[in-house]
C-alpha cells in the first residue's frame, strides 16, 4: 500500500527556459518549477546583457552618452535619445527650437509605431501565428528606411543632440512621412484583422496573465502594461514634455489587465501616434535645428534632475547628478521593462507552460534595457 502511494506521487520538475530561447525575447532565463504542465513557481534571472551603461556614462562626456542610450532600448532609439537630451537640457536650463521639438516628436512617434509593429509580429509568433509578423515588418521596414535617410542608420541613430539635432532633415522629409502614413495604416489594419479579433488568438490571450490595477501599480508597471489594467496613466498627458501639449490625442485604456488588453492598447496606441504625426507634420514650423552648443564641451553647473518620458514600453526616468565637470557624477535610468518584467513571477504562477511564452511576449520587454 505504501509502495503504491509513493509510485503515484508526482514530483515537481525544474525546467530551464533561456537564456538562449527564441521566445524569451533576448537573453533572459526563467527557472520554472512545474507540476505536469502547470507552473508552480518561477525564478527569473536577468543580467546576461549587463554592460554597465550607467557606470560607463560616468566616464564619458555628455555628448558621448547619447550612443549609450541608443543601446539600452534598441527598439525605441529616438525615444531614449529624447529623454537623455531633455535631462541635460534641463540641467543646462536651455530650450531647443520649436522646429527641433516638432521633428523630435514626429520621429519618436514613428519609432513608437515601429516598436509596436515589431511587438505585434512577435506576439503573433509567440501565439503561433506566422503571417502577422510578415505584414507588420513591411511597415516597420518603411519607417526604418525613413530613419536611415534622416540619420544615416536604420537603428542606433545618434541623431538627437543636446539642444538640437545632428543635421537638418532632408528636403522631402514631409513628403516622405506623408507617403508612409497610408502604408503603416494599412499594415495596422491588416494585422488587426488577422490577429486582434482572431478567434484562436483571443482564446490564447483572453483571461491569460491577468494583473489587477492595484497589483500593477504595486509592481511599478507603466505604459501599455499598466493601461491594459485600466489605469489611465500616460506621461505625455499627465506631465506633458517637449511639445506634446500641442497635440490632440487619446490614451487607450484596457479593462481586464490580461494579455489581450495589453495587446489591444498597443494597437490603439499606433492609431493615436499616427494622429500626432499628422498634426505635427501640418504644423511643422520653420527654423534652425542646429544646437547652439555645437560640439563644445558641456560643463553644467552642480545640480540634479529627474526627467521622465513615455517610451513605447512605459515610463522611462533619468536621474542625472552633475558635479560641475564635463562628465556626469551619476546617471541612473529607470527602465520601464525592468519594472514590467519584475511582475513575471506573479503573472506566471499557476498558469500553463504553453501560456508562459504569450504572457512574457505581452509584457514586450527589451533585455538591453532591463540589464543596461
Amino acid at each position: 500500500m505504501m509502495q503504491d502511494q509513493q509510485d503515484n506521487q508526482t514530483i515537481d520538475m525544474m525546467l530551464n527556459m533561456g537564456p538562449q530561447h527564441p521566445s524569451t525575447h533576448g537573453v533572459f532565463r526563467m527557472e520554472l518549477r512545474i507540476d505536469g504542465e502547470k507552473i508552480i513557481d518561477v525564478k527569473p534571472h536577468i543580467g546576461y546583457l549587463h554592460r554597465g551603461s550607467e557606470k560607463l556614462s560616468e566616464g564619458e562626456q555628455y555628448h558621448q552618452i547619447i550612443t549609450l542610450f541608443d543601446r539600452m532600448d534598441y527598439l525605441a532609439n529616438f525615444n531614449n535619445e529624447l529623454v537623455y537630451c531633455m535631462a541635460v537640457e534641463r540641467l543646462l536650463d536651455m530650450e531647443p527650437s520649436k522646429r527641433t521639438e516638432y521633428i523630435r516628436v514626429i520621429l519618436c512617434e514613428l519609432n513608437r509605431i515601429a516598436s509596436h509593429l515589431l511587438y505585434v509580429g512577435t506576439i503573433g509568433l509567440d501565439a503561433g501565428a506566422m503571417t502577422p509578423a510578415l505584414f507588420s515588418f513591411i511597415g516597420r521596414d518603411r519607417i526604418q528606411t525613413l530613419f536611415e535617410s534622416i540619420s544615416g542608420a536604420r537603428m542606433m541613430h545618434n541623431y538627437f543632440k543636446i539642444g538640437g539635432l545632428k543635421q537638418e532633415v532632408p528636403d522631402d522629409f514631409v513628403r516622405m512621412v506623408k507617403d508612409i502614413m497610408p502604408v503603416i495604416r494599412r499594415d495596422i489594419d491588416q494585422t488587426e484583422k488577422l490577429l486582434t479579433f482572431n478567434e484562436i488568438f483571443l482564446s490564447r490571450t483572453k483571461d491569460i496573465g491577468v494583473i489587477t490595477a492595484e497589483q500593477a501599480i504595486d509592481y511599478g508597471l507603466t505604459g501599455p502594461c499598466l493601461r491594459g489594467s485600466g489605469i489611465n496613466y500616460d506621461v505625455r498627458k499627465s506631465e506633458p514634455y517637449s511639445v506634446y501639449q500641442d497635440f490632440d490625442f487619446d490614451v487607450p485604456v484596457g479593462l481586464d489587465g490580461d494579455c489581450w488588453d495589453r495587446h489591444w492598447v498597443r494597437v490603439k496606441e499606433m492609431h493615436e501616434s499616427l494622429r500626432i504625426i499628422e498634426q505635427a507634420i501640418d504644423k511643422l514650423p520653420d527654423g534652425d535645428v542646429a544646437s547652439p552648443l555645437g560640439r563644445r564641451l558641456i560643463r553644467p553647473s552642480e545640480g540634479e534632475v529627474y526627467v521622465k518620458a513615455e517610451n513605447p514600453r512605459g515610463e522611462i526616468g533619468v536621474y542625472l547628478v552633475s558635479d560641475g565637470t564635463d562628465k556626469p557624477y551619476r546617471l541612473k535610468v529607470r527602465p520601464p521593462s525592468f519594472c514590467n518584467l519584475s511582475a513575471i513571477q506573479l503573472l506566471l504562477q499557476n498558469s500553463w507552460v504553453a501560456d508562459s511564452v504569450v504572457i512574457l511576449g505581452s509584457l514586450d520587454i527589451v533585455l538591453g534595457e532591463v540589464d543596461r
Partner: protein, 170 residues
Amino acid sequence: MANKPDDALEEVSQTTELSPELIQFKTLLESTFIDVELAFVMTDQIPSVVVPKESLHDLCVFLKTNSVYDSKMLSCMAGVDYVDYCQILYILYSVENNCTIGIKCNVEYDCKIQTVSDIWKAADWYEREIHDLYGIEFEGHEDMSPLLLYDGFEGHPGKRDFPFYNYEEY
C-alpha cells in the same frame, strides 16, 4: 563633492523662499514626525525629504497611506555614491493625484537599511540592484542574490573607486 548634499541642505534652510509644494510637504511631515530630524530639499522639481534611516520605513508607510500624497507607486530607486556615504533616492508617484515626491536617505557603507519591499513590490528588484552595485544591505529583504551581476562577482561596480576601465579577462 562629498559634502554636496549637506551644503545644499544649508542653502535651502537659509533661504526663506520655499516653493509652495515643498512648504505643504514640510508642514504635513513635520506635524506627523515630531521627534524625527527631517530636512527638506527640492530634487529638481520634486519636493523631497531627507530622512534618517531609522525612520525611513515608517515614513514610507505614512506616505503610501496618506490621502494627500497617496504614493501607491514606487517609480524609481537610485543609489548615489558620495564617497563617505551612499545616498538612496526613492521617487514616489501617485497616479490618482498626479504628484511626485522624493525621499532621500543617507547610509554609511557598513550600515544596514530597512527594506521597503514589503510596502512596494517594485522595490524588490531595485534593492537587489543597489545591493549589487553599492553593497548596501537591506534588512528584511527575502532574497539578496545577485540580480545584474553573476554569482561570485567580487566588488561593487557602482562605487566611484571601482577600477572600471582596467579590463580583466573572465
